[in-house]
Amino acid sequence: MSAEPDDGLNWQRPSPKLLRCRRIQVALVTVPVALIVGLACATASGLAGTLSAVGVLVAGVVAERFLARRVAAWGFAERNEDLMVRRGVMIRRQSVIPYGRMQYIDITAGPLERSLGLATLRMHTAAAASDARIPGLDQAVAAKLRDQLAALGETQAAGL
């Protein structure tokens, strides 16, 4: 966890399954790449093939460590009039999106996310630069949160 100052907010986290989702994504890239690189280098010598394949796998493990930290950095907090989302490890970001400014909210889920029962919630304001998404929510949680935010947005709507 990053050393976040205690701001007295009730930070909620994405589902723990998000980490599993990211690990599978890394594995899906790393293992085939390791195989291909290993086989390609094995034409030179068996040792070179083994070494390069292991090298790629090590890179994959390192990437997994980075992703684990990034997954741990995600958080969101519902405040009275706005939603706060934080993310990032190297570049840390924290956004405040007033409920009244939300134009629409959508939920997306890729094939892998879907198989794990996860979804990404994305909030849009009239400003294209606004960046507010919460990945790796349980689908039920995402749907509930969407309805809740939409209702709050409607009562506090403020247009442009």
Binding site: P98, T125, A128, A132
Partner: protein, 476 residues
């Protein structure tokens, strides 16, 4: 079909001036639409005909058929396009095979521009462009082409219409923006104005219009020459001249030709676009007229301004010149089409600091200045920007300045803030700094309070949403 049929009168109680029923665009539309392409085609065919030397009549017939084909598409498009205004909605129907019917609720319209290209100007035609917020550029409406007088009348009427439509509806929060009051006062009190706007279009009501600013053409030319494209143009010309002088090979200049044409086109577009910029205070907003060959007239409605930016390039500073730009809600400009070095619509393409301050007084209710400099340790992170980084705020605006050689000061109305972001990169974390960004619905401006001390930025992140909410509540 062109006959104004008074069958179904609009129910919104203003702008009876727009006749009910469907209307066609001007019959010369296909010619203007084919425009430059048609000229290019004619030129190419003429060259081919001359090069062939055989002035065969059959070939001329072929050429005419080609031209007719080029025109027929536009003609069919004209034939199936019609528009009408009913119940505060502008409808544009078009398309022969795939019907496309668009509705533009006038209460949603951000601005209406009258645009003339060179050819249209010769033929006395103009295009009406409607701008709506959000989404992509294709969501805007175009009525091309109409007779200039018709276009201007229609614009005035549509604007009056939309103002009334919004007044009838419960006014959504944020539309009666901060520019409301100062505009009114500028019209009523400001004695600086020098007579009615020259190219301005008479408003629906007989309210006097006050000219607030008019750019001096000589100053604009010098300013462009002193800007980055101008400097590049000079560098290229100098390089080519030097090359020719040294080697004596004139033919080699042909290599530079595409570059030279590109630069010339950029400089020309800029000069043509902002030549004769005139800002007039009118009852329905700030009216902006500009252009040499291609003219645009634009009305920036009160409360639609999302950001105001004061730009002071290095080469202009000795003269005390600056540029004042506004960003209004609209489709966000895509990164690849941002060619013109991120320039926005300029209220003052180039003017003195006094001009800019006077205009700021019109578009902003209060003018906080960036008076809080960044901590000294920012020099390690941004040595070139350090001197310009500052921010300031009051109840209505957040203002921040930045830039390496060009100083840019940006005012963001708190009432327009869509979301607030806090960002901290690795170098910033090491120096205990962080930045706060304010997102607005403008085309490309984002408020950036860069490199504040960590505690201050955290405090801003917590406080700004509340300040923005308070400003919004006050405006509503």
């Amino acid at each position: 079909m062109t006959n104004p049929l008074p069958a179904d009168p609009p129910r919104v109680p203003v702008a009876e001036g727009v006749p009910a029923g469907w209307h066609r665009l001007h019959p010369l539309t296909p010619v203007v639409r084919a425009g430059s392409r048609l000229f290019a085609l004619v030129a190419v065919l003429a060259v081919i005909a001359l090069a062939n030397q055989r002035q065969d009549s059959s070939e001329i017939v072929t050429d005419l058929v080609v031209i007719a084909l080029a025109l027929s598409g536009g003609f069919i498009s004209w034939l199936v396009t019609r528009w009408q205004v009913t119940d505060g909605v502008l409808r544009i129907d078009t398309g022969l095979i795939r019907r496309d019917s668009r509705r533009f609720p006038l209460s949603q319209v951000q601005a209406i521009d009258v645009v003339q290209s060179g050819l249209a100007r010769i033929l006395g035609l103009a295009e009406l462009q409607l701008r709506v917020a959000g989404g992509d550029a294709s969501r805007g409406g175009r009525l091309a082409w109409l007779r200039l007088a018709d276009a201007e009348r229609l614009r005035a009427e549509l604007l009056a219409y939309s103002t009334a439509a919004r007044a009838i509806q419960a006014v959504p929060a944020g539309t009666g923006g901060p520019a409301d009051a100062p505009l009114a006062s500028a019209v009523a009190v400001d004695p600086i104005a020098a007579g009615p706007g020259t190219g301005a279009i008479p408003a629906s009501a007989a309210t006097p219009e006050q000219q607030l600013f008019r750019v001096r053409s000589g100053q604009l030319a010098v300013a462009i020459a002193l800007s980055r494209p101008g400097a590049i143009a000079f560098a290229v010309v100098a390089a080519v001249t030097a090359f020719v002088a040294v080697t004596g090979k004139t033919a080699a200049t042909a290599t530079f030709l595409p570059t030279a044409i590109g630069i010339a086109a950029t400089v020309w577009r800029w000069f043509n676009g902002e030549y004769g910029t005139t800002v007039t205070a009118a009852p329905d907003g700030l009216r902006l007229n500009s252009g040499l060959i291609q003219t645009t007239a634009e009305t920036i409605r009160p409360g639609r301004i999302q950001a105001v930016r004061l730009v002071e390039p290095l080469a202009w500073r000795p003269f005390g010149w600056c540029r004042l730009e506004v960003d209004v809600a609209g489709p966000r400009v895509r990164r690849e089409s941002r060619g013109e070095s991120g320039r926005l619509r300029a209220l003052i393409p180039v003017g003195t600091k006094a001009d800019a301050m006077q205009m700021l007084g019109v578009v902003l209710t209060s003018q906080p200045m960036p008076d809080k400099p960044v901590p000294r340790r920012v020099r390690f992170k941004a040595p070139l920007e350090y001197h310009f980084l500052a921010f300031g705020s009051d109840d209505n605006y957040v203002v921040s300045s930045d830039g390496r050689v060009t100083r840019t000061t940006t005012w963001i109305p708190l009432e327009k803030v869509q979301s607030v972001r806090w960002v901290q990169g690795p170098v910033q974390r090491w120096l205990r700094l962080s930045s706060v960004r304010l997102d607005v619905a403008g085309k490309r401006v984002t408020g950036a309070i860069e490199d504040r001390a960590d505690a201050e930025a955290r405090d801003l992140l917590m406080r700004l949403p509340d300040l923005a909410r308070a400003a919004r509540a006050r405006a509503a």
